[in-house]
Amino acid sequence: MPMLFAICYWLEHTSIGTAVRESTWLFPTIETIHIFGIILLVGSTSILDLRLLGWAFREDSVSKLARRYLPWTWAGFVIQVATGFLLFSSEATKMYDNPSFQIKMLLIVLAGVNAFVFHMLAYRKVATWDDAPVAPLSARCAGCFSILLWFGIVAAGRWIAFI
């Protein structure tokens, strides 16, 4: 049995995994928190992404928006990882085989890479383009990829239930 599958199997049979799976109210409640976490996480990243694209919030400097909203992005991310892990543990072996779940995880990694690259490159020099309504090309690309990736992650997440 592959190692990863064995871990999923073990996770499913922990008391937490079992509790979430067998309770009629625990899974839906955690799922509801996960949905509100989406609003927090994707809402805050979208605000920044729209600013990078120059489509909204142009009266605010990029660094001001980043300072104001990235803490919420991190808070949302923590909530999503925690609730997501609980949901995952209740049906880990099913998720192991689910292509929509796999795509979702891959897109999350790509979203992280995109954010990292943006912070290492364009954002390092943000002082030079902070107030410009039109950001440098690499910043606009980062904003575009970010929106596409996060919307893709939400769609893939919803799609999981249908496979």
Binding site: T24, T29, F36, W159, A161, F162
Partner: protein
């Protein structure tokens, strides 16, 4: 009522949606995005009324920005939700969890209207009245309830 549900299910475009997996799933994804925008908008405004979020923005200005998004998303959520509903109308109509969801959404929308009508008055006062904060708090609870009821349909009734 059961006959009405069955009749809906057998309309030609409804059976097409029901039998085309990617189409049904896409409609479900659209429903998801629209409810995220709708609930996000109204809950953010309610949190502003409560004085917990977006305190730098004047209440009336925030409301003016958010309500168009909220109601547009609501219209799309109703539309996409209706399409999902028709594919299994005969089973949804008598379902208790579905009925609870519709009731909670109705109450949540009523609370949103109360907030929308109250904001112009509240924004003009030196401080937002306690009654307004109670309404905003109840509104948040109702929208949380509507999402919980939505996910419970699949969990308890196996529908959707």
């Amino acid at each position: 009522m059961h006959d009405f549900g069955e009749w809906l299910e057998h309309i030609s475009w409804v059976t097409t949606i029901a039998n085309t997996a990617w189409l049904y799933t896409s409609i479900s994804v659209v429903h998801y995005f629209t409810l995220l925008v709708m609930v996000g908008s109204i809950v953010l405004l309610d949190l502003r009324v409560l004085g917990v979020a977006a305190r730098r923005r004047p209440l009336t200005q925030l409301a003016e920005e958010l309500f168009p998004w909220m109601w547009t998303a609501f219209g799309l959520a109703i539309f996409s939700g209706f399409l999902e509903f028709t594919t299994d109308a005969g089973d949804y109509l008598p379902d208790k969890v579905f009925r609870v969801k519709m009731t909670v959404i109705f109450l949540a929308v009523m609370s949103a209207i109360v907030v929308q009508r109250g904001v112009p008055k509240w924004g003009q006062l030196p401080a937002i009245p306690t009654s307004a904060k109670v309404i905003a708090f109840v509104s948040i609870l109702l929208w949380i309830g509507s999402i919980l009821a939505g996910v419970e349909i699949a969990a308890l009734s196996g529908l959707g």
